[in-house]
Amino acid sequence: MVSNPTSERTSESEDGADSRLPEAAHTEGSANADEAVASPKSQRWRPGPVEFLLVGIVLVVVFRGQLEALFDQPAWQTGATIFVAIIWQALPFLALGVVLSGVITAYIPASFWQRALPKRQGLAVPVAGAAGIVLPGCECASVPVSGGLMSRGVAPSAALAFLLSSPAINPVVLVSTFVAFPGVPQMAVGRLIAGLGAAMLMGWLWMRFGKNDWIRIPDRSHLHADTKWKTFRQTASHDFLHAGGFLVVGALAAAALNVLVPTEVLETLGGNPVLSILIMAALAVILCLCSEADAFVAASLTQFSLTSRLVFLVVGPMVDLKLIALQGGTFGRSFVLRFAPATFVVAVGVASLVGWWLF
């Protein structure tokens, strides 16, 4: 298995290359270039997974002292702690999302979605957006679920509205927002309105302007095994490992920025109303907080206006570093390069308007 590179495999992995993260993350850039030059038939030796593992283990053993010295420094320690914390806080939600996605793929026939959602896409978008209320997870769960929906024939616009709305407006998140802001129930209400509004707007924008070749809909056709149970297991394992890898990328970026960006300096700029909205939006992207916890953090950032804190709560579950990585992994890079900035602008705009109206 490990060392029988067929010609098929070579060409396929090149096809996949454009939809992956930057090569730097893999250290395989040069190997890929070699591959492109070499004829696919060549039986040249190439390092396999076992070789990579062995080299990795040898490096760790040789440089263990340096590694430990590095992680004795408080900044590195803090970064490592935050990395591990984000991973193990998010994994359960990712697992939940992956299990639901597996159930959707294996057990729910495509015809169910045709009956459940309105035929007209313009109507399917708000219905799917409102359906986000029922998934009691945070943003990590909704990425694989909406991928599963698309692979079962749900229109991307509707699935995307669901993707954005469910982590922002589900009951767990709304209750925690309500608890975190005692005496300010408008915050939870504003979160519901702005979250749903921005999600539906993005769904409609995708319906109007989105192109199908921007998005890579997860293809499950090859995963259909002999039994539903086996399909379920294979889909779940595959989705979990795939999304998990991207979660690692996002958590690394979040941990690094958490240590490098002096958030206390940003916080001193909170007095200016426009600046405070932009800073809170940027903080939401950088900090990658779980949507079930972000309200408590927002509540403590008292030097910022209520409107800018609402922006923080609306942007966070829709655009943050780990979500960008997860969405890029699931739907492709050309998708996330367009979708994430557009969502950011729409979320900031809608949340500012709702905040201006409520507070």
């Binding site: 760790v60 697992a95 299990v99 998990g244 900090l287």
Partner: protein, 277 residues
């Protein structure tokens, strides 16, 4: 090429599942995520481990089926030298008929990203990074939120000194209209953080008695700091038990406040199991 084969997928699932089970059943977990979240990673660890074991069983079964198919083909043929060739062919045929598996690895070129899941496993196995401490507290402003709407807190128990959580002490110092802390000897447990460039309201106060609180996980930690007035200087990250009395005069009625305590005694203690409040 580090293409993700079925075997590697199974290996990654088993590794990550075991690591998740391990940290969710030990005190290490408390360094990263709030205690009440523990059941979720535990269930996730079980799930991943089961998926991994099932994947191994699948591989093992299919390999055996392939071998049996090859054997019976060889037996029918009855020619030993050719039998070896056939068994190899049988194997690769199996690989093709089972396209579902040999495909998973690379039809999504991005599957190679799954290799990165080794990083968190290695981080736990090799480093097991410690709880957040003074580095985080020194970078953050002290944050004291109030959990009572009325700002009128119930009276403290009558023990002397009263053991209090740092957060409880700070909350009463900043928000309590009834000033329940007044004249009471309290006992607080926290770690030492030293003032950075800013926030030194009293130059005689050498350090802050600090504690971090979590809403979910260490990424959302916020700091509570109490200025220790009249105490000998101590290095950051020293865990201490402090007795003393509230010193009114710090900021009140704002979430960004650093209350004061007049220190009577300081005892160094080992780091508690759960460093967060």
């Amino acid at each position: 090429m580090a293409v993700l084969t079925r075997e590697i997928q199974a290996l990654l699932l088993v590794m990550l599942g075991s690591a998740t089970l391990r940290i969710s059943t030990t005190d290490i977990f408390l360094r990263y995520v709030k205690e009440s979240f523990r059941p979720f990673p535990f269930a996730t660890g079980l799930l991943l481990l089961m998926l991994g074991i099932w994947a191994v069983v699948d591989i093992w079964r299919e390999d055996r089926a392939a071998r049996q198919a090859a054997d019976s083909a060889a037996a029918q043929d009855g020619q030993a030298p050719h039998g070896a060739d056939l068994s190899e062919e049988g194997h690769s045929n199996n690989g093709h008929s089972d396209a579902s598996h040999s495909d998973d690895g690379h039809s999504h070129g991005g599957m190679r990203i799954a290799w990165l899941l080794i990083l968190p496993v290695a981080a736990i196995a090799l480093i097991a990074p410690p709880s957040l401490g003074a580095f985080t507290a020194e970078r953050a402003e002290s944050t004291v939120s109030s959990s009572y709407d009325s700002y009128e807190y119930p009276a403290l128990p009558s023990t002397d000194p009263v053991p209090l959580a740092v957060s409880e002490f700070a909350e009463r110092a900043v928000w309590d209209n009834k000033r329940s802390l007044e004249g009471r000897e309290v006992e607080l447990t926290g770690f030492v953080s030293n003032p950075g460039k800013r926030g030194m309201s009293n130059p005689d106060a050498p350090w802050y008695l600090s504690r971090l609180t979590l809403a979910c996980c260490a990424a959302d930690a916020s700091a509570i700091k109490i200025e220790a007035v009249g105490a000998e200087p101590l290095p950051s990250d020293t865990w201490v038990k402090v007795t003393g009395t509230w010193l009114p005069g710090g900021e009140t009625d704002t979430a960004r406040a650093t209350p004061w305590i007049e220190v009577h005694s300081v005892t160094e203690i080992p780091e508690p199991k759960n460093t967060y409040e």
